[in-house]
């Protein structure tokens, strides 16, 4: 989408920094006003090892954006930068900007705790707390004081479980430990836990790689349903999955985004040779 220069004059941008031309397919991106989240020249290194080199990407609301690429190319690092999970690693050095609704989340004045209620995360290996199913989902609302009373809390928990497609299977046993569920159920529990705090964005770092095909299919269906209400960023190793699920796609190669854009476009007409190699299965 070419940025309309007249529009940028009429509606002054609330983003920081100059807006450059948004060029798709491999050239340097700009921060789009309409983007829910965006990164600009994001550079991340662990000790001396560089993981991301000046990555700029827009993530649009109510879409599934997939990040693909060979192992070790920075996809996980990128997605973890979106909710500042990299803060927990002391040797991690971050430069550049990450915008949520136009504000830089790495600004020292920003509250990380609040950020993470707006940007949720589901991990590769399901990690339910060793608590009951109910307590797992109630954890977030409880610490943030989102429910005025027990009844409201119960409503939030049940609603989240339903939205994650798990309620029918567990409604009679909300008090059993979350760890006693099957792998696929645990992951859906983690999704319920994430959405219980009503984030705008859900980050998913290879959510299905530890699951069997049937469980994977259920989660993929869930993701497609969820994007009506949430913005989803998903890291995946499976190109088929990326093709099935995503609206936008970005191909990572050795710490940079080589190509990004509409999923169908990138798959059918990859501009860059490296992208072509990967999506056609020649590398990766």
């Amino acid at each position: 989408m070419e940025n309309n220069p007249i529009e940028s004059l009429i509606n002054p941008p609330i983003t920081e920094g100059p807006i450059m031309e948004d060029v798709r397919h491999g050239e340097e991106g700009s921060v789009d006003m309409k983007a829910k989240m965006a990164t600009k020249d994001l550079t991340v290194s662990y000790a001396k090892v560089q993981a991301l080199n000046g990555v700029s990407l827009n993530i649009y609301p109510n879409e599934v954006t997939a990040l693909i690429g060979p192992s070790g190319c920075g996809k996980s690092t990128f997605i973890r930068s979106l909710n500042r999970m990299n803060d927990t690693i002391s040797v991690c050095n971050i430069e550049g900007q990450v915008f949520l609704d136009g504000e830089n989340i790495y600004d020292p004045a920003r509250d990380v705790v609040r950020l993470r209620t707006q940007v949720g995360m589901v991990f590769q290996k399901p990690n339910p707390f060793p608590k009951s199913i109910f307590e797992n989902v109630a954890y977030g609302p409880k610490i943030h004081g989102l429910a005025a009373d027990d009844e409201e809390l119960r409503g939030i928990v049940l609603g989240s479980l339903e939205r994650a497609g798990l309620l029918d299977e567990v409604k009679d046993r909300l008090n059993v430990p979350g760890t006693s569920l099957s792998g696929g159920q645990q992951q859906r529990l983690c999704i319920a836990r994430a959405i219980a705090v009503r984030p705008d964005i859900i980050l998913m770092d290879e959510p299905c790689s530890a699951l069997d095909p049937i469980a994977t299919k259920r989660i993929e269906e869930l993701i497609t349903e969820l994007k009506a209400e949430y913005t989803i960023v998903i890291v995946t190793h499976s190109m088929q999955q990326a093709r099935r699920l995503s609206d936008k796609i970005a191909y990572f190669h050795l710490g940079s985004i080589v190509e990004h854009g509409e999923t169908a476009e990138v798959f059918e007409n990859p501009v860059d040779e490296r992208t072509a190699d990967y999506v056609l299965g020649r590398i990766g």
Binding site: T88, R114, R116, F123
Partner: protein, 317 residues
């Protein structure tokens, strides 16, 4: 050619018998541990039985009066009820409670700091320093308790109008607690680092502060390991001798006031057995009965603790 066959036949045979001998020696060495336990149990039980032939076991276990020094004449012993162990148990538990009240929270929070808040360079400097604290002989702690802490507490108590004994349970308990801090810290540290990082990340990702993640997710997950460590610490503190011998009292007093002077099981064992006694007198035999009681209690605590810690470790492996 013939020499070769000759030597290759004799050598394996000699080696066979040497190896058999070595194996026998190895097995013998390993059985020393069993022999030690048998020795402990046997000697404690044997002498205790001789004691319980003089003083009934019910008097010992449920008696409220302990003053063995008064039972001088043989015929006085049984009837004077001087061998009731309850005051000793209460005294031991009182001092142990004070010690654990110090060591528990301080040790746990030290572990939290070292595992969750400290950078690796800070951790690598502080952890060995705490190990030094653990390596200090208990007699030094006892000296410190008796010469420094007890007078401080007494003078401090006077200043606020409290009557603090110069051999208070508080003094002995405080120093014992400090001695136990590294132990609790070390075991809690192991328990906390055994909790998978993914749990912590899950808690942080949903918007916890670090302290919330620690209090509500990590510590509950590490709880069995921490609890096992506290049980082991209790066992240590109950069996501790020198600090109480030097800083706690000698007369049995049935009280729950930490400002009072109490005596413990270990103090009595030492008092009864040092000095000139005949070996077979009821006083020395009572020391063995106390020893048996001590051994049983600490054994129960240790076994329970090790079971909990083992089950917990298997959960996360």
């Amino acid at each position: 050619m013939r020499e070769a066959t000759h030597t290759s036949k004799a050598a394996p045979k000699k080696r066979f018998w040497t190896e058999r001998l070595i194996m026998a020696v190895l097995i013998l060495c390993s059985s020393v541990a069993i022999l030690t336990t048998i020795g402990i149990v046997a000697s404690l039980i044997f002498e205790s039985i001789r004691f319980f032939q003089i003083v009934p076991i019910t008097d010992f276990l449920f008696g409220l009066h302990w003053s063995p020094q008064m039972a001088i004449r043989e015929d006085q012993v049984g009837s004077s009820g001087a061998f009731g162990a309850i005051p000793l148990l209460v005294g031991t538990l009182l001092i142990s409670a004070v010690a654990l009240t110090v060591a528990g929270p301080v040790g746990l929070m030290s572990a939290v700091f070292l595992s969750e808040y400290a950078s690796s360079s800070v951790r690598s400097k502080i952890k060995p320093t705490l190990e030094i604290l653990a390596g200090i002989p208990t007699v030094v702690y006892g000296f410190f308790a008796a010469i420094v802490v007890a007078p401080w507490l007494r003078r401090g108590g006077e200043a606020v109008g409290l009557d603090v004994s110069s051999e208070s349970a508080l003094a002995a308990g405080l120093v014992m607690g400090i001695m136990t801090i590294p132990f609790v810290s070390s075991i809690s540290d192991d328990a906390i680092t055994a909790v998978p990082t993914s749990l912590k990340e899950g808690a942080l990702a949903v918007g916890s502060t670090r302290s919330e993640a620690i209090k509500k997710v990590i510590i509950p997950a590490a709880l069995p390991g921490i609890a096992g460590g506290l049980l082991l610490a209790t066992s240590r503190v109950i069996g501790e001798t020198m600090i109480v011998v030097m800083a706690a009292g000698l007369t049995a007093k049935l009280t729950l006031n930490p400002l009072d002077a109490v005596t413990t099981v270990t103090v009595q064992i030492v008092t009864l057995l040092t000095g000139d006694q005949e070996f077979d007198s009821p006083k020395t035999l009572s020391a063995f009965a106390l020893g048996l009681m001590l051994f049983t209690v600490t054994l129960a605590l240790n076994v329970t603790a090790l079971k909990i810690v083992k089950a917990y470790r298997e959960q996360y492996d």
